[in-house]
Each structure stands twice: as C-alpha cells, then as structure tokens.
C-alpha cells in the first residue's frame, strides 16, 4: 500500500482564448484513496478538469494535493510534483512503439537520479506482472493488442509509486470485453495500493465501479454524488 493523496479544489477557473470560461469549479474535495469518475457530454470540460488537477494547464484558484497547492508552482516544479505524485493514463495509450513493454513502463527512469532508477524499474516490472504482462516485458509494444497497450500505460503511470492516478478515457479505445477486464485489473491495482484515482470516462461500467461520480456540463460541476453502484 502506498496510500493516496487527498485533493481540495477551490475557485478553480480555466479560461480559453478570448477569456471564455472553459471550466469553473468553486469547491471540490476528494479523500485519499477515493475512486472518482468524471462524466459529462463531450466538450463539457472533463479533460480540462483532469489537466488542471495535473497542473498541466494555466488556471486560477487552488488545487491542493495534500499540503501542496500546485497552482502557484512554476511549470518545472509542477513537473517535479507530477513525477513523484501523479501518474497519467490516456485514451490512446501514448506509448513509444519502438520500445519494449518494460522500457515503456519504466520510462520515468530515464530522467530520475541514477540511484532511483533500479527501484523504479523493479516497480514497473512488478506492475506489468500484476497486470498479466510479466512475460512480455521485452516484447515491442508495436505487437501488443489495445488492452495490452493500456496495461503497459497503467504500469507506466504507477511505476513511480505515485499516490494519484489520473486517467482520460482509459477504456474508450477498447472493445467491451477487454475494457471490462482492464477495468477490473485497474481497480484491483489502485484499491490494493490505496491510490487516489480520478478517471474521465463515458464508460458507464467503469463509472459504476467508482466511489464517487462528478458530472461536468458546460464547464461547471453540476453534480457530485456517490456512485450508483449496480447502475446499468
């Protein structure tokens, strides 16, 4: 168990070109280890919330992970914060096709201090094994199926032992059966580690496995409720 981080958001406002408000969240608090789904129509601002939580987007307000408000930090300090605390997963995996599964999962080792590289690689291997890819670490991901690729991406996101996992449509590129198996593995892994998970998704089955569900519409948080377990 690595344990998750709590997050508290207040007065968050992301504006786009011409000052148009893309997202506005007045207040939001998530406990450590919470599994939180974010749903809403396309273009509502779900991914923008995710990027704001990751400190990848310029915004006003406060986003506090534990004791750290990442908003006033410089881009470089935010990157350092992400390296230690936040893992990210994307819809189309974003793997380096030319590298093996193990190298992709341990990508962060390339920029870590030498002393920490071995530990990260070991953790990446352990995550791959936990996700059923232990025997395929050396294989190039170019030969992997969509489900296998997303597993490699999950291993990469969790290789640093980050207490927070942010996922953007992790099952959208997968068929139903693969998506369900991936969901089960992902949730098993984050629950086992106590990781805080925020996942943006249209996938009702994935939403169904969350502790809380946020609904975003027109750039605003319109509902924050406990997951309707058993829905659909």
């Amino acid at each position: 168990m690595t344990g998750g981080l709590p997050v508290s958001v207040s007065g968050l406002c992301v504006t786009g070109a011409g000052g148009r408000v893309l997202l506005s969240v007045s207040s939001l608090a998530l406990p450590p280890g919470a599994l939180v789904g974010v749903r809403g129509p396309s273009g509502a601002g779900k991914s923008t919330l995710l990027y704001a939580l990751a400190g990848l987007i310029a915004a006003r307000g406060r986003v506090c992970w534990g004791d750290t408000d990442i908003m006033p930090l410089s881009a470089e300090k935010r990157a350092r914060f992400r390296a230690g605390n936040i893992g990210m997963i994307f819809q189309d995996f974003l793997l380096f096709e030319e590298l093996g599964a193990g190298d992709n999962a341990a990508l962060s080792a390339l920029f870590l201090p030498r002393a920490q590289r071995r530990e990260l690689r070991a953790r990446a291997d352990a995550r791959l094994s936990a996700l059923g890819l232990g025997n395929h670490a050396g294989r190039s991901v170019a030969s992997f199926s969509g489900g296998e690729r997303q597993r490699v991406a999950i291993a990469r996101a969790m290789a640093s032992g980050a207490p927070v996992l942010l996922a953007d449509e992790p099952t959208a590129s997968l068929d139903r059966g693969t998506a369900d198996r991936l969901t089960a593995d992902l949730i098993g892994l984050v629950r086992g580690n106590g990781t805080t998970l925020v996942v943006v998704t249209h996938d009702a089955r994935l939403i169904d496995r969350m502790d809380r569900v946020l609904t975003i519409a027109d750039g605003a948080l319109v509902s924050d409720e406990a997951a309707p377990h058993g829905l659909e």
């Binding site: 990027y51 470089e76 990157a79 962060s108």
Partner: protein, 434 residues
C-alpha cells in the same frame, strides 16, 4: 612550456580538442544526470527514412568541403613538387611566371633566347653542377618535344631510364606517360596545341630509344631529344663546330643558336642565391627560383583559400541549419510523445536533451560519414587532377580538415540547441490532444 615547444602533432590534437570544447561542454551540460538513449534510439528508428536522408545531406556537404580543401592543398604540394628539380632557371628577361609555366609545366610561351656567350658563362661557372639548355616549340600529339642534354634527362628521372640513353641525334627519351613504345619513330610537328604545323619538319624522323622513370610532373608527358636535333630540324647550327660530331655539352658559343631557358642545379644552397644574383641583369638575363614564383602565386591564392574555407564552412552550416529546421518540422510529428514526457513529470531539460540528442546523433553521424566521403572525394579528385594536369597530386585528409570538421560539429551542435528550445515551448495540453 611555450606553445612553440609543443610538437606539431600535439598542437594539432590540442587545437582539435579546443574546437570541440563547445560541443563537449554543451553535451555535458545538456545530458548531465540523464540517460535519454533508448528514447533517442526509438525516435531515430521511427523517423529512419528522414534521418538517413538528413545524415546523407550533411555527409555530402561535409565530404565536399573536406575533399575540396584537401585537394587544394594536395594540388599546391603537387605543383611545388613539380618544381623540385628546377632549382634555378635562367631566361631572357620577361615574366617570371610565364617562364616558370613554360619550363616547369611545359606551357607554350613565346620567350626570348639566351645566346652562346651567356650559355658559356653559365655552364662555365664554378658553382654550377648542372646546366642544361631547354628548347621548346615542337610537339608530337599531346607531348611537347623538348631539346636538352642527356645530363638533364638523367637528372630529371633520377637516373631511371628503361631502354638506353640517346647516343645520336634523332633519338629520343620519352616521359613515363607518353603513349609511344621504345623503338617507335615519329616526326615532330612545329608548334604546340592549336598552332601546330604537322608538315614543317616532314623529313625529320626521331626514334624512341628509352623511357624515363615517373616524376609526377608534366614532364612525364614530354619527349626529350638532344637539343642539337631541335636546332638542326629548324635549320640552325647544332651548337658545335662543323665536323666535330659531338652530342651534348660543351657547346661552342659561335655555333650556339640560342635557347629560351637554362636550368641550373648547384650542389650548395647558397650558390643558388649567388647565381640568381649574378644572372639577374637588366636587358640581358633573368634568373629566378620557380619554387619562389610558385610561393608568390600561393601567397596571392592564399586569401582565396581562406575565403574558400570560410565559404565551405558557411555552406555546411547552412545545410546543417536547414537539416535542423527539418528536424524542428519533424519534431511536430512527435510532439505528443514530447507532451507525454512532460505530463509524466520529465524535467524540461530532459525533453530538451532528447530533442538535442536526436539532432546531435544526425549531425555527428553526418560529420563522420562526411569525413569518409571527404577522403573518398579527395582521392577521386586527386586522380582526376593528376590525369588532367600530369601533376602528381596526393590529397590525404590532413589536420586542417579535421579542425574544419571539429568547428563544424561544434557550431552545429550549438545551433541544434535552438530547435530543442523551440520544441520545449510547445504547450503540453495541446500536444496531448493533437
């Protein structure tokens, strides 16, 4: 220890390192603490076609620059070597350059003649070990027919004669590259090149009796005959009193029809200077060192060489800059991966290092391949120039070219910081969404 006390080799090595210092420093600063190699390899592999093309472009431009520089130096050495046997040349007053080109490089020229009294004075001088009159003006095919003495023919070929030396008028020794066989006969034509008159010496038949060893000079294509033969073919006295039947020196001043040039060799270096001074006389004779005339010529061309080096370097920097621009455009294709690295928490310097390394890998491979191409180009050019001018040109790549390459590598590795910095400025979220 003073710089001048250091051996030339170590000076060259030190200079190379000095030129590479900016590149090494840049590399060390950019890469400190990171190991981006797997990513750089992955990106190189993904864009292998474009990368190979870039490497080839750089290699060709570097190769041409190196090849030309080496060639220019090789040609300079070759021409200097061609003048080696011509310590001092004495002619009628005129242009030293024209006289040098006529005697050393056998270029046709109208020259005044030295008379018998002058010849006597030169040949009889105490300091002169070898004096040989040269008589130009006839030709056979592409070969100049030069009248001279057997002593000079031996001196020119360092004694290497296949067949036998000439023993009578109407016999000839041919240069190593003359397309005639020993035993062949020919009729010399009056004049050289376009001004040739094939029938002027219709009754003269000259037989080849020997071939001189290769000298690596335009004389390899010349046909040497006794100077008496040239004089007689032109209906002049043959340098000796009638009935003596002599061949070669001493000549009788009263029967000496004149020679456009006399090559003088002296065993002592100081004697050459004394002879030059003695035979430099207004309206009578002109004495000069062909090597010094060449050196003056190189002095004038030296500025051109510097401009050429600079232009080669600028051209290559431009090629490298366009390659880097290409890299920048290419980097748009992997901006998602770059954005991903930032999203994973990679420091800006790491992303910078990946992009810079990608460019550096192409530039270094191009430079190394260019060095090999340069060696090849220089050797091919040397062969072409040797074949065309008969001046034996060897153009090995030297330290100048290595220094040139080191400067190129340093400048371009510094330049490639630019696209790396620009890539870093791309917004991460846009990259992730693209």
């Amino acid at each position: 220890m003073a710089w001048n006390d250091v051996s030339a080799l170590w000076q060259d090595i030190a200079l190379t390192v000095l030129f590479l210092v900016p590149a090494l420093l840049t590399g060390a600063l950019v890469l400190r603490g990171y190991a981006p190699w797997p990513l750089v390899r992955a990106i190189l592999w993904r864009f292998r076609g474009a990368s190979a093309l870039f490497v080839l472009l750089i290699a060709v431009s570097v190769g041409m620059g190196i090849g030309l520089l080496a060639q220019e130096r090789g040609l300079r050495r070759g021409t200097a070597q061609a003048a080696d046997k011509f310590d001092l040349v004495i002619t009628a007053p005129g242009s030293e350059l024209t006289a040098m080109l006529a005697t050393v490089f056998l270029q046709p020229a109208d020259m005044g003649l030295l008379d018998g009294a002058t010849w006597d004075e030169i040949a009889g001088h105490d300091s002169v070990a070898l004096a040989a009159p040269l008589a130009f003006g006839d030709s056979f095919g592409a070969s100049a027919v030069v009248g001279t003495t057997l002593g000079f023919a031996r001196y020119l070929a360092d004694g290497q004669i296949t067949g036998r030396p000439w023993q009578a008028e109407g016999e000839a020794l041919i240069g190593a590259l003359v397309p005639l066989e020993i035993g062949a006969e020919f009729t010399p034509a009056h004049g050289v090149g376009d001004a040739v008159d094939d029938h002027a010496h219709g009754d003269a038949h000259i037989r080849v009796v020997g071939r001189l060893g290769r000298s690596g000079t335009p004389w390899d294509r010349a046909i040497l005959v006794p100077i008496e033969t040239v004089w007689e073919v032109h209906g002049l006295a043959n340098g000796h009193a009638p009935g003596t039947g002599r061949l070669g020196p001493p000549f009788d001043a009263a029967y000496f029809p004149g020679a456009p040039a006399v090559v003088v060799h002296s065993d002592a270096l100081w004697a050459n200077y004394a002879l030059r001074s003695e035979f430099t006389r207004d309206r009578e004779t002109m004495a000069f060192f062909p090597g010094a005339v060449l050196a003056q010529l190189y002095g004038v061309l030296g500025d051109v060489r510097q401009v050429m080096s600079l232009m080669a370097l600028v051209t290559q920097a431009l090629v490298a800059a366009s390659v880097l621009l290409g890299l920048f455009i290419l980097s748009r294709l992997f901006r998602r991966q770059i954005a991903l690295l930032r999203a994973l928490g990679a420091p800006a310097r790491f992303v910078f290092a990946v992009v810079w390394c990608f460019g550096a890998a192409l530039l270094l491979s191009g430079a190394l391949l260019g060095l090999c191409a340069g060696v090849g180009t220089a050797s091919v050019l040397a062969r072409v120039v040797t074949a065309r001018t008969d001046v034996l040109v060897a153009a090995p790549v030297g330290w100048t070219e290595i220094h040139f390459l080191a400067v190129f590598v340093s400048v371009t590795l510094l330049l490639s910081l630019l696209p790396a910095a620009i890539v870093l400025r791309q917004p991460v979220v846009q990259g992730l969404r693209s």
